[in-house]
């Protein structure tokens, strides 16, 4: 069956769900909204898996190389000849992989929410928004055209805004939603300008054409873009950096990461879907899309590497100090995405080109499963105990065995303990780093240790440690909530064994990355070290952590305050932008521009007040003026102006 027959349905079904529930949700589907939404998504999930099967195993490979297939393409907005925004579906290993991930995780979340969001006032609206998000994300994934990706990029942004602000009457949620949208919008500005530059030089917006025109052997476009520079930097670097800024914003990379932790104000399943598995990795996906172009410009790749590495490390450290379990997970997400990004970047230092790409996307793949599992687990816990604070938890393993088990699996996976999924992907990243740049490798290694530590800190203080003061035990939640946990746990175990490298590679042919036991010793050791440290500190209730915290005092506080990033941004926005620019602008407008217009009016009336003496009322002065007028006219026109 031809892709074009059904591929469009994959994104459009969730959209249909959105429209349906958005318009008639309140009245018609007040109760059944969840079922409807889930049903729509279920169909498109099946279609997605079918597509993946078709692509990877049936007709994707042409003489051993996975070819990109443009399944659909419609001109949406024609700017000028050859320059148009197209809407379509591009199938290549990366996009198909993403297709699977997005639909699968989204389905899980839909199912989970059936239980989690039960009885919510705006139940239908919730599912409508989920549908909107899924539609946008799928559209983003399938983009054939850089402007299409930008369009859906904005759409996922707004759906995330809507979902973060779902509990709209909580000021915190509203603030978080605004923060998320504005920070990413700021990043998107870079993306937009980058697009403008690329489009101008390559003369197209279509991915394939653009890549082929720029990377083509001794292409004139490339010559122009490297030849001409603004403030000493070649245009190409500008363009790629700007585009990357867009990606960094969405993927919450340092220093634009500040919005993600706050975004945890949204419903937990949403965090699982948007802020763990799918949207936040859009940045990685974007860079992967344009990877051939990025490979040309080493300087930008180095930038990406360091941004990724620093984010991975800082986020991991901060995660150790957070007490809100969702925030811990958020920081771990940042850290994991950091991994993916520097994996994409490091080839700049070596020639391990394809491995970087593959490893990064592989980690993206596995991470999607175990991270969404973690979030859903956390969701279950919160649903059970009605708080996010670690302090109020503990000893929950008795009450919620399934959650406990799945959560443990996920923790092991993310900590990189074989044979779970996380282990394989992380190994590949480490190998790439090792081959390219040792420094990055060591950072990554340490970070993985820290990761293990904070994950198990989380695990122990939820399920062991003191027994929680929580009283009313209404069970672990119904099947809707358990099922996704189990499914995802299974996934977290098995996906590692998928021979990912054969399917997804920069050159389309697949890549052999051998994981040698000798190499794996260090990471695993680090992970175990982290786990055991966490065991010592958090398995039983004790005052070790406080001691430690007080021991390192200032540093601890700095980390706890997330290195004062929020304060910095607050300073910039409030002090500089508002008081520095907006206030003066408003003042200028009110007093100078508008004032001038009013002054004009007053001046006129003022003059008329001044000259009223002319009309003195005495007839003799009138006749005098009369006579004077004549004399003046005569004098002027006889002597001066002849």
């Amino acid at each position: 069956m031809e892709y074009s027959n059904y591929i469009a349905l994959i994104p459009l079904l969730p959209l249909a769900g959105f429209v349906l529930l958005g318009l008639f949700g309140k009245k018609t589907f007040a109760k059944s909204a969840g079922i409807v939404g889930t049903l729509f998504l279920f169909i498109s999930t099946i279609l997605a898996f079918y597509t993946a099967y078709q692509y990877f195993f049936v007709n994707g490979k042409v003489n051993g190389v996975y070819q990109p297939v443009t399944a659909l393409q419609y001109t949406w907005l024609q700017f000028s000849l050859g320059m148009s925004i197209d809407m379509g579906a591009l199938l290549d290993p990366a996009s198909v992989m993403m297709l699977v991930v997005v639909t699968f995780v989204s389905l899980m979340v839909h199912v989970f929410s059936l239980g989690y969001m039960k009885g919510e006032e705006r139940f239908a609206t919730y599912y409508a928004f989920l549908g909107l998000f899924t539609f946008s994300m799928l559209g983003l994934v399938l983009s054939t055209n850089i402007f299409q990706i930008y369009i859906f990029w904005e759409l996922v942004g707004v759906s995330s805004f809507l979902l973060i602000g779902f509990y709209y009457d909580r000021p915190a949620a509203v603030a978080a939603a605004k923060k998320a949208f504005i920070v990413t919008r700021f990043a998107d500005l870079g993306f937009l300008i980058g697009i403008l530059i690329l489009a101008f030089y390559s003369g197209t917006l279509d991915f394939g054409t653009m890549i082929q025109r720029i990377t083509g052997t001794n292409s004139p476009v490339l010559a122009q873009m490297t030849g001409y520079g603004v403030v000493g930097i070649p245009v190409l670097s500008w363009a790629l950096t700007l585009v990357f800024i867009g990606g960094a914003g969405k993927s919450a990379m340092f220093p634009l990461h500040i919005w993600l932790p706050d975004a945890m104000e949204g419903p937990t399943p949403v965090s699982a879907l948007i802020h763990a598995a799918t949207m936040v990795v859009a940045g990685v996906y974007l860079v992967a899309r344009l990877y051939p172009i990025y490979l040309i410009d080493v300087s930008v790749l180095k930038l990406i590497t360091w941004v990724g590495a620093i984010s991975a490390f800082l986020a991991a450290i901060i995660a150790c100090t957070q007490t809100d379990i969702k925030r811990v997970l958020a920081y771990s997400t940042i850290s994991q995405i950091g991994y993916m990004l520097f994996a994409l970047g490091v080839p700049a230092y070596g020639e391990a080109v394809n491995t970087g790409y593959t490893a990064s996307l592989f980690h993206l793949f596995t991470h999607a499963f175990f991270k969404s599992l973690l979030f859903l687990g956390a969701g279950a816990v919160i649903h059970f105990i009605h708080t996010n604070e670690m302090g109020n938890m503990g000893g929950l393993r008795k009450f919620m065995p399934i959650t406990h088990a799945t959560f443990l699996i996920a923790c092991l996976a993310i900590a990189g303990i074989p044979p779970l999924a996380g282990f394989f992907s992380k190994e590949e990243i480490l190998i790439t780093a090792w081959q390219s740049n040792k420094l990055i490798y060591y950072i990554a290694l340490i970070t993985s240790g820290i990761t293990a530590f904070y994950m198990f800190r989380l695990y122990f203080s939820i399920f062991y440690n003191k027994t929680s003061t929580h009283s009313d035990h209404h069970g672990e939640g119904n099947l809707n909530m358990k099922l996704p946990l189990l499914v995802l746990a299974a996934a977290a175990i098995v996906v590692g064994f998928i021979p990912f490298t054969h399917f997804v590679a920069a050159n389309g042919k697949g890549e052999e990355i051998t994981i040698s036991a000798s190499f794996s010793i260090a990471p695993i050791a680090m992970a175990l070290a982290g786990i055991s440290l966490a065991f010592v500190l958090y398995f039983n209730e004790n005052d070790q952590p406080q001691k430690l915290a007080t021991a390192i005092g200032g540093l601890y506080r700095a980390i706890r305050q997330k290195f004062y990033f929020d304060e910095l941004y607050l300073f910039i926005t409030k002090k500089i932008i508002f008081n520095g620019i907006a206030k003066p602008a408003a003042w200028f407008d009110k007093n100078i521009v508008d004032g001038f217009m009013n002054k004009l009016g007053w001046a006129t009336t003022g003059i008329s007040e001044r000259i009223k003496a002319l009309q003195s009322g005495s007839i003799q002065s009138y006749t005098l003026y009369f006579f004077g007028g004549i004399i003046a006219l005569a004098a002027v026109f006889i002597y001066l102006w002849t």
Binding site: Q615, Y622, I630
Partner: protein, 468 residues
Amino acid sequence: MIDFLLLMKQELIITVIIFTLLLLKIGTEMSNTAILNLANGLLLFNLAAGFMGNQAGMLFDGMFFTNPLIVLQKNILSLGTLIVSLQSSSWLKKHEHVPEFYILLLSNLLGMFFMISTGNLLMFYVGLELSSIPLAAMANFDLGKRKSSEAAMKFIVSSAFASGLLLFGISLVYGATGTLTFSELASHITGGPLPVFAFVLLLAGFAFKISVVPFHLWTADVYEGAPVAVTSWLSVISKGSVLFVFVSVLYTVFKPMAGTWYNMLFVLSMLTILIGNLFAIRQNNIKRFLAFSSIAQIGFILVGITGSSQLATASVVYFVLIYVFSNLAAFGVVALVSSVTGREQVSDYKGFYKTNPVLSWVLTIALFSLAGVPPTAGFFGKFFLLMSGAGKGNYVLITVAALNMIISFYYYLRIVKAIFMDANEHPIEHLAIPAYPKLAMFICVAGIIITGLTGYIYDYIHSLSFGL
């Protein structure tokens, strides 16, 4: 003889009417209403007669001549006279000297007719005096009112002075050329200092009548003091007549010194618009306000005159026609209000719309037409005037004039604002509109709407007019 009757038809009719009224005054004791009906009927007849059996020609070897344009101008004036008399009826009813009023009015009109169709400075002078001396008497028509007599005094003194200067100018012209007939003057006049001085004096004479700055100062006081009927007459009819003559004199007699008077008008027009506007902003008495606004209007007309083309003449005549409608519509309302309630302040008109919607709309439309807002005729009139001015390529003048329209817009809207928006605890009570004023207002409003939107009238005028 017969063509004497034909060519001087309108003048003769007016004369007959005057004497009829005189005899009635002496002989019988008719009630005011009867006289009013009779007078209006006769005026209507005069207007109708003006349209039939016209032909061009001259009498008394060039002293008196007429042509379609002149006939048209006279008809415009007769129309104005009719409207004035219609809407002053509510005031005259209570007055004991109705026939006198009409006699003065009509002798005035007669003077204008002669003035318009004169071909000779002597007859021009006589006509001018005939059209201004009775005005002084009319200004004083409310004998008991202090302001009325003050207005009359100011008018007669300044007009006498003006005519003195005019005469001095004429005498100099005579001295320079030795002739008084226009046709010969046109060929004799040269651009030397003496003719220029003489011209300045003549110009002053004209400028006084149409109140161009700085010869305008009498205007506001007389307008304020005189009875509303007289004021409206002053502001529209007498100005209109002098304008017609002014244009023809400039374009025919003073053709040789066109360059000079173009520059003079350039200066005077800007001055007039500016001063008129600046004074109008501040006025509280609505008659006084209309006086200054009319000064500004004259400035715009001067801009048109500078165009000195066929277009210019046509535009001036056309604008006078429109001005008759617009200004008389405004004065109609003012006359009604002041004759019933005696209130003439702008502030009295606050909340006018609540009590008198119809009158408010009439006044508003009139003001819009004066301000030059489409679709009223005033817009077209102003547009054509400025276009003919721009025809000379003097864009400084045009820009100044156009920007001055903002100020004039402001003070016209000030009245509209008072009528529609301002609250007032003692608004003018509801007024019943008698038949004659109602008819007058109807004519005016209809004129305001039709004259602008249909191009025929303008085309007709243009077809009759001539350029420099």
